[in-house]
């Protein structure tokens, strides 16, 4: 299953969280990790809501050999991130811009991939294994 939620209002963030949490539950994540996955979706969706006019969150179950997990992809057509490396550094205050919260998202997941082009948009894909 693969769900895509367009993020335009704050309630879309809530919808994305809910779909993500339910998917995480189905996959078999425990309460704590369901909460973490919802948090990750929240952070990614908020970035879209606050800093990009157009964007969506995609949630899907992933399988790889004998592992299962969840992948969350956030694609937006926002301003882009000028220096991805800098945004991912810990301790740097990135609040108030498109990269806000990404270090946190990284810490809550197993893998994060970021592609960004200034004035074209950003794609963030994170995966978390069961």
């Amino acid at each position: 299953m693969k769900s895509t939620i367009n993020i335009t209002t704050e309630w879309d963030i809530v919808t994305a969280r809910e779909i993500g949490r339910n998917e995480a539950k189905r996959i078999g994540f425990d309460t704590v990790n369901q909460a973490r996955i919802a948090t990750v979706i929240s952070e990614l969706a908020r970035n879209i809501y606050l800093y990009a006019s157009v964007g969506a969150i995609t949630i899907e179950k992933i399988e790889c050999e004998d592992k299962v997990g969840i992948a969350i992809t956030a694609i937006d057509e926002g301003p882009g991130i000028e220096d991805v490396r800098k945004v991912m550094q810990d301790g740097f205050s990135t609040s108030g811009s498109i990269g806000a919260g990404l270090p946190g998202v990284k810490r809550l997941t197993d893998d994060i991939e970021i592609q960004s082009q200034l004035e074209e948009g950003t794609t963030v894909r994170v995966t978390k294994w069961l």
């Binding site: 309630w11 963030i13 809530v14 919808t15 969280r17 809910e18 949490r21 909460a35 919802a38 948090t39 929240s42 301790g91």
Partner: protein, 331 residues
């Protein structure tokens, strides 16, 4: 705090009634603000307990005691979080310090390109971070010789920048431009081996041009080979050597090689930041540089350096990821 409790109560009551995702989202946003206000987790649990008692007077004693226990143990999480706050401030201070340090370092390691009759010298060095880990030093005595050292320190940060001050210091003690490249490398190797940390190494290409005889003598300590263009052959040659990096073994010997320079010849000395770009694995990056050098060889040495930088930057997908230094010597 009382206002916060009222807020918290409202959100929690809603959640308990509906268990909606919306309430969790609001709850998380609220806690994020509390964290920014430096509210400790034990205070949150305490607030939670009070609210639970208010909205649910028949809350069993067992639950209450459970909360008391949670408050008690959360004190240690709170402590760690407070320490975090302080570390963040310290980190910020250090960042400011580093900016000052970088500024001083850039003055200390400023290179002046000598102007000499009969040879055109250009140079460009672009640091990737605040402090440059590449360094170029010229030794010249105006009439007979000009020496050029192109160096790259393995490592980064303040120690690497200070290590470069060490290299500069060592080169300055040599004083005269007529020193043999092998001698220069041997002296520098000893200085760095002795006085710098074991984990710090420097690669160096050292070339000396005998102005009267137009003979270029060079040696290398684990450095990226220079690119030599021979106009008569219309061909490129790599100028490398087998020497180890400076700072590994105290008594290293370095070899040196001589080549004559004729009209139209040029030598491109560079650091690995110039050649290690990702573009197309099938094409050798040095070949691309040679191609660019041919295209722009009609320009001055300085302009050639700038064009090289410009064009190579375009080829880089994610921008440069090492200090970029190129020195061109044109006959």
């Amino acid at each position: 705090m009382k206002e916060l409790k009222t807020q918290y109560k409202k959100i929690l009551v809603d959640y308990i009634a509906n268990q909606s995702e919306r309430d969790l989202y609001i709850g998380q946003n609220f806690i994020r603000q509390l964290i920014q206000k430096n509210i400790a987790p034990e205070e949150v649990i305490h607030m939670h307990k009070q609210v639970m008692e208010e909205i649910f007077p028949e809350l069993p004693a067992v639950s209450k005691r459970g909360y008391d226990f949670l408050i008690e143990i959360m004190v240690y999480f709170g402590l760690t979080l407070k320490e975090h706050q302080i570390l963040l401030e310290q980190q910020e201070e250090m960042r400011i310090e580093m900016n000052v340090a970088a500024k001083i370092q850039s003055v200390l390691l400023k290179t002046t390109v000598p102007k000499i009759d009969g040879v055109d010298i250009g140079m460009l060095s672009i640091p990737i971070r605040k402090m440059n880990g590449d360094y170029v030093h010229f030794l010249n005595d105006e009439e007979n010789y000009v020496g050029v050292a192109v160096t790259d320190v393995v490592g980064k940060g303040v120690p690497a920048a200070l290590c470069m001050s060490m290299v500069k210091y060592g080169l300055e003690t040599l004083e005269y431009a007529e020193n043999n490249p092998s001698h220069v490398l041997e002296v520098l190797n000893r200085i760095i081996e002795k006085s710098v940390d074991d984990s710090m190494f420097v690669s160096m290409f050292y070339g000396r041009l005998d102005l009267a005889r137009s003979i270029f003598t060079y040696g290398s300590a684990g450095h990226e080979p220079a690119i030599y263009y021979n106009a008569v052959d219309d061909a490129f040659y790599g100028l490398g050597a087998k020497g180890l990096l400076l700072g590994i073994m105290p008594e290293m010997k370095y070899e040196q090689t001589e080549i004559p320079l004729y009209e139209g010849d040029f030598i491109i000395m560079l650091t690995d930041g110039v050649t290690e770009f990702r573009y197309d694995d099938a094409i050798d990056s040095r070949k691309i540089i040679e191609q660019l050098a041919l295209t722009y060889r009609h320009l001055s040495a300085q302009k050639m350096c700038e064009k090289l930088y410009e064009e190579l930057q375009k080829l880089q997908e994610d921008g440069l990821d090492d200090d970029f230094t190129v020195v061109i010597l044109k006959k």
